[in-house]
Symmetry: C2
Subunit: 227 residues, 2 copies
DNA sequence: TAGATTGTTAATCGATTAACAATC
DNA sequence: TAGATTGTTAATCGATTAACAATC
């Protein structure tokens, strides 16, 4: 149930840490872009938006890549984190559903720059086929299997309406895709061994709404620091 | 630091529970659409994608809205959760940055159907001004303050490039916006009392990549259920 | 009354944090 | 050597879960 049973040092990295590694990676890239070659856990934590104790604890799961009294080499740490995540070379991705969101995703430069390559855009609507988005031609959903086989695609992105999401997920799984990023506002069921992550735009807004409501009530204290 | 000090029954709902309330709300809406008027915690948990113990524990923070031996009235529970979140009437939202993602967000029907109203679309690029997206005219970023004042906007959405995000956030905060949903791939700093939630498309993909990598290594066990 | 299901308790698990010994 | 900063320990905190008494 917990995947591989430990044993020969297959480091078990906590899920909360895994979710922050990409944040550190981005922060390090930002530092490197600014010409900074070395940083302390304090400095990196600041730009990553976490506290330094948490950062050091997180990094300790990967190994000892810092130097006491000195800090971390930006490029070296960046490579180690990228290696740990597995984004040192481009991973092929397919996007299904080329509506507004699919367009945005296809054009999203952050995929390319962070180790992903959009190898295909698929849509069920035949009138969309042949259209070129972000340099990639929109193809029929039925081409999924051939594309997955050709490019050895392991990650699929669902950007369809909610009603189509489960069907798309089933087809992806049947083709051998084992990681799914789901933007459709629907819970999808997948077999054991397949990972699903869900991004839900309106849920994030609702969480904000909850806190917003709490602020305006109970008029006791108000925003203390107004910058 | 923990906001209002308890006292006269200002229920303190755990953050993890708050994040799931919108999920329950959506699940209940789905059940209602299917004509289901009553459900058990087991049934609701199934469609929400959580286990029933967690669901009941979460709902217990809101009050006692179920009936032992019977279950929950779908419409009643739905109303209670919506009231708790604060989305019983439309909350005004502004979106800044009308690129691909901004377009997708403006057209996203889930906002409207879940208690949010996009009152303005703003972009720094003058060539975009006047364009109508999803029935709303794109206006100048400088109009932000007037719009926030006119519609009493409390929630802002940032869909700009990373380089503009901090500046947009500063301007939003200066206008009195106290909740920000940030889609730009950048950490933004805001004063105490302002909430920020961040949606990062490439981070989600990277988390999937990490698990994907782990699957292909250690060839020990494989996907047991292939559906 | 018997069966069903909630709401709550308590145990467990995992994540965060402060503090500091190790060490550059 | 003195100063700085990592990597780790241990304490704390919060979230999850199973179990079951309460009660419809």
């Amino acid at each position: 149930m917990a995947g591989r049973t430990a044993g020969e040092g297959v480091r078990e990295i906590p899920e909360a840490t895994v979710a922050r590694l990409p944040v550190y990676l981005r922060a390090l890239t930002g530092l490197a872009d600014d010409g900074i070659t070395t940083c302390s856990s304090e400095e990196l934590a600041l730009v990553a938006g976490v506290n330094s104790a948490k950062l050091r604890k997180d990094l300790s799961y990967l190994g000892s890549y810092g130097t006491r009294g000195v800090g971390y080499d930006v490029d070296y740490l960046r490579y180690q984190i990228a290696r740990e995540i597995g984004v040192t070379q481009d991973l092929p991705v397919v996007i299904v559903g080329i509506g507004n969101l699919g367009h945005a995703l296809a054009n999203y430069s952050g995929f390319r720059s962070r180790g992903f390559r959009v190898v295909a855009l698929l849509d069920a609507d035949p009138t969309r086929h042949g259209e070129v988005v972000a340099g990639v031609e929109v193809r029929a959903f039925d081409d999924l299997e051939a594309i997955v086989r050709e490019h050895d695609v392991a990650i699929g992105v669902i950007a369809t309406p909610a009603s189509a999401a489960q069907d798309v997920a089933d087809r992806m799984v049947a083709c051998g895709i084992s990681s799914v990023l789901n933007f459709a506002p629907a819970v999808i069921a997948v077999p054991e061994g397949v990972d699903v992550r869900k991004v839900d735009l309106s849920i994030e807004l609702q969480i904000l709404a909850y806190h917003e409501q709490r602020k305006s009530h109970g008029a006791g204290e108000r925003m203390e620091a107004a910058q």
